[in-house]
């Protein structure tokens, strides 16, 4: 598929009279601003790509000129590729202005290849984009036909015949090879196609022959799809776009039933699900939901997307509605049917579903399990792992640990809070401290427990040691305090005190 006026269409689709005012797009080439793209109205004025801007302005002083913006062009191309997802899951980019669609096995869904092509062109025209399509057995042939051919449809096994009359530029060759071929008197593909190969290889390189072979189907060329095609998918199209959230969710529910049948046939369950909502005007919204274990149950799939939709709020504006909804399982795992026991009720799956739902709603990093780590730095000794990832054997029981290990607080401040503390003797526990404007009189203390930074993290040796104390105030409040550094250390100043945690 060739978007022949991509750059100008990008600008013109916003204007009220697209295509009537001549527009040229310029970029600096060889120390001069030259035309790199232009619209049909500009072509009618006899302008050509490569002309210097100065010449153009001498001829037409008031012509509309814009700077080239390759990033915006590429973004538009990606958006169009997203839109093309509705025709086939295998869409590849062919920058700067082409898209490759693998429609094998998809065309009959749209009533044949001709109808498919017309549908694509009509859809793009509605979005203000001019395109040419070529449909052929090979990528090379389709590319050539889209850009240089008279017809867009090439029947099966007819690649060779259809390409005979096309110019050599249709073979996707470098300009140097093209000019070399032109000097040798070759203009059309018919001129080279039946000649002995060895002299061509010697004179123009293997690349030339490879392009020829690819176009004729003698050598394989595959499309590099932007997204890996999902293992399973179910989709529904609507002649009238749907706009209500309840309609979208209802559709997802129906699709989930279809997906369940597909998954059950192969004994698999989905780990990562995606809903793609195709908006009428070409925008595609994708919502993903991950699960902690393989999932097939349609009601639970629907519930996940209810949570997902609830969180995004107004970010996904349905605009004039969605005309297609697709539910796909991106990652799958084996899921064997489980026998429900008579003896005990199994609440595990219910819990797993709750974990999935909460993770989908609040983000998988917000629902955590705590996993101990082998370090004695208090902040790093426990890691929070997303609950969806951490299965039960992840968590090691700490109860079996040494019961004489130092007691740790139940609450730990991620950022230790500075306090004013007074210690009776240097290196001793504080006798009173003030935290958040409240004075605490210490009546009992345990400590110090000295914790220094691990030497491999502290290669400069600058980190101060911490002397931790467990203290209890007169009222019974217990806190975990530490003194950073030592009294009378070389780098002067009194050491500072911090409150790091609260005991029950």
């Amino acid at each position: 598929m060739w978007l022949r006026r991509l750059s100008t269409d990008r600008i013109e689709r916003r204007s009220s009279v697209p295509g009537e005012i001549p527009l040229i797009i310029v970029e600096p080439v060889k120390s001069a601003l030259r035309i790199c793209a232009l619209n049909d109205a500009a072509v009618a004025l006899d302008l050509k790509p490569g002309m210097p801007l100065a010449d153009v302005q001498a001829m037409y002083p008031y012509i509309n000129v814009q700077d080239a913006n390759p990033q915006a062009d590429l973004a538009l191309l990606e958006a169009i590729a997203d839109w093309c997802d509705r025709y086939t899951p295998l869409v590849g980019l062919d920058p700067p202005d082409g898209l490759l669609l693998d429609v094998s096995g998809c065309a009959h869904l749209f009533g044949g290849e001709q109808m498919l092509g017309d549908d694509i062109l009509a859809g793009l025209a509605r979005q203000g984009l001019r395109a040419e399509i070529g449909l052929a057995d090979t990528v090379g042939c389709a590319w050539a036909v889209a850009r240089y051919g008279k017809t867009s449809l090439v029947p099966k096994q007819a690649s060779r015949d259809s390409m005979l009359l096309l110019p050599l530029a249709a073979l996707r060759l470098d300009t140097e090879i093209l000019s070399a071929l032109a000097q040798a008197g070759f203009k059309r593909i018919a001129d080279v196609i039946d000649r002995p190969r060895a002299p061509f290889a010697a004179r123009f390189g293997q690349g030339f022959l490879r392009r020829l072979d690819q176009a004729l189907g003698r050598e394989d060329e595959s499309i590099n799809p932007r997204r890996s095609p999902p293992s399973y998918m179910a989709e529904r199209r609507f002649p009238d776009p749907i706009m209500l959230e309840s309609d979208v969710l209802g559709t997802i529910g129906q699709l989930a039933h279809e997906l369940e049948r597909l998954l059950a046939r192969r004994g698999e369950g989905a780990r990562l699900l995606q809903v793609a909502l195709f908006r009428v005007d070409g925008k595609v919204h994708r919502l993903e939901a991950a699960t902690g274990g393989p999932l097939r149950n349609p009601d639970r799939i629907k519930r996940l997307f209810i949570e997902r939709l609830a969180t995004i709020g107004d970010k996904y504006d349905p605009g004039f509605g969605y005309d297609m909804v697709r539910l796909s399982a991106l990652t799958c795992e084996r899921l064997d049917p489980a026998q429900g026991g008579l003896a005990g009720q199994d609440y595990q799956s219910e819990l797993a579903h709750l974990i999935d739902r909460l993770s989908t709603r609040f983000g998988s990093r917000r629902l955590m399990r705590l996993v101990p780590r082998a370090t004695h730095i208090p902040e790093f000794a426990v890691a929070a792992v997303p609950a969806q990832l951490a299965c039960d054997d992840f968590a090691v029981d700490l109860v079996g640990q040494d019961s004489l290990a130092p007691v740790r607080p139940v609450r730990l401040f991620s950022r230790p809070e500075p306090i004013d503390a007074v210690a009776e003797v240097p290196d001793g526990p504080p006798v009173r401290f003030r935290w958040r404007h409240i004075l605490y009189e210490v009546i009992a203390a345990e400590g110090p427990e000295r914790i220094a930074m691990e030497w491999w993290r502290d290669d400069q040796g600058h980190a101060l040691t911490r002397d931790y104390f467990r203290v209890e105030s007169k009222e019974g409040a217990r806190a975990w305090l530490y003194r950073e550094g030592l009294y009378k250390q070389r780098n002067a100043g009194n050491p500072r005190w911090f409150l790091h945690g609260l005991f029950a």
Binding site: L370, V371, P372, L398, L404, V410, E472, A504
Partner: protein, 259 residues
């Protein structure tokens, strides 16, 4: 429950009765006893299951005690092996610290049974709590709200109560300050920390609480000073009288230490 699940449920109960075993339903329906007879008498056997209970610190310096009391209640029932979900708003975590896994385990609550959910708004915390209470896979849900937790008003707590009734678990609402907002909670507790008795090494003794039951739907209120035994996972009386005179107990000088 109708149809096949209901039949299956009846059959399960019948089988359990024949075999003399407890079903999950029996376990879930059991009240959470304190293991301390004064309180259990007032509560008619312990904290009622499938209900909402509120906890708040008496003063701002007692927050650690209030959080510890919630941990202790969760730990009391932890032997059933089911999970506890602790929901915390981001602001609550800044105010009073994150839950520290290394501290939970020695306190009696195995960290592998603990799930922690952080949310940004108190509203989300209530929503998540309601959903979690409906889930039978969770035994206890604790939601921590900063300040008085004014958002948990009569309507919100009523919803939570209904959700707890559906799921059969315990719901604990931990407010950072005592609140006068009407609520449909079954009981309401104000927790203060109490000075502990030093252990035999002169260190800090067992955690002690002053528990004030300020609201009890089915009985009198009360006030007790108790200590938490994290090893046995029971509350016991903390006599406030004169400390026991020292005497030689050479047989007990083994490695026993309270936390």
């Amino acid at each position: 429950m109708t149809g096949a699940p209901a039949i299956l449920c009846r059959l399960r109960q019948a089988v359990a009765k024949i075999e003399g075993q407890e079903t999950d339903l029996d376990v879930a329906a059991r009240a959470l006893a304190f293991g301390f007879c004064n309180i259990d008498t007032v509560l008619q056997g312990g904290l009622a299951p499938a209900c909402l209970h509120e906890i708040a610190p008496a003063t701002s310096r007692d927050f650690g005690a209030a959080a510890g009391f919630a941990f202790a209640l969760a730990a009391r029932a932890a032997h059933d092996g089911r999970h506890t979900l602790w929901i915390q708003t981001d602001f609550a975590a800044i105010e009073s610290g994150d839950i520290y896994g290394l501290g939970c385990d020695p306190f009696g609550l195995p960290v592998r049974q603990l799930l922690i959910l952080k949310v940004s708004r108190p509203f989300d915390a209530l929503w998540a709590m309601e959903e979690a209470l409906k889930c039978r896979g969770l035994a206890r849900v604790i939601a921590e709200l900063p300040d008085g937790g004014a958002i948990a008003n009569l309507n919100a707590t009523r919803r939570l109560t209904l959700a707890a009734r559906e799921g059969g678990g315990f719901g604990f609402l931990l407010r950072h300050q005592p609140s006068l907002v009407t609520s449909s909670a079954e009981t309401r507790w104000e927790i203060a920390s109490a000075p502990s008795h030093p252990d035999q090494f002169g260190g800090l003794g067992r955690t002690a609480f002053v528990l004030s039951l300020t609201k009890n739907h089915h009985g009198p209120t009360g006030r007790w000073t108790v200590a938490w035994d994290h090893h046995e996972r029971v509350f016991s009386a903390l006599s406030l009288g004169v400390a026991q005179a020292a005497f030689d107990r050479s047989d007990r000088t083994s490695l026993v230490r309270a936390g």
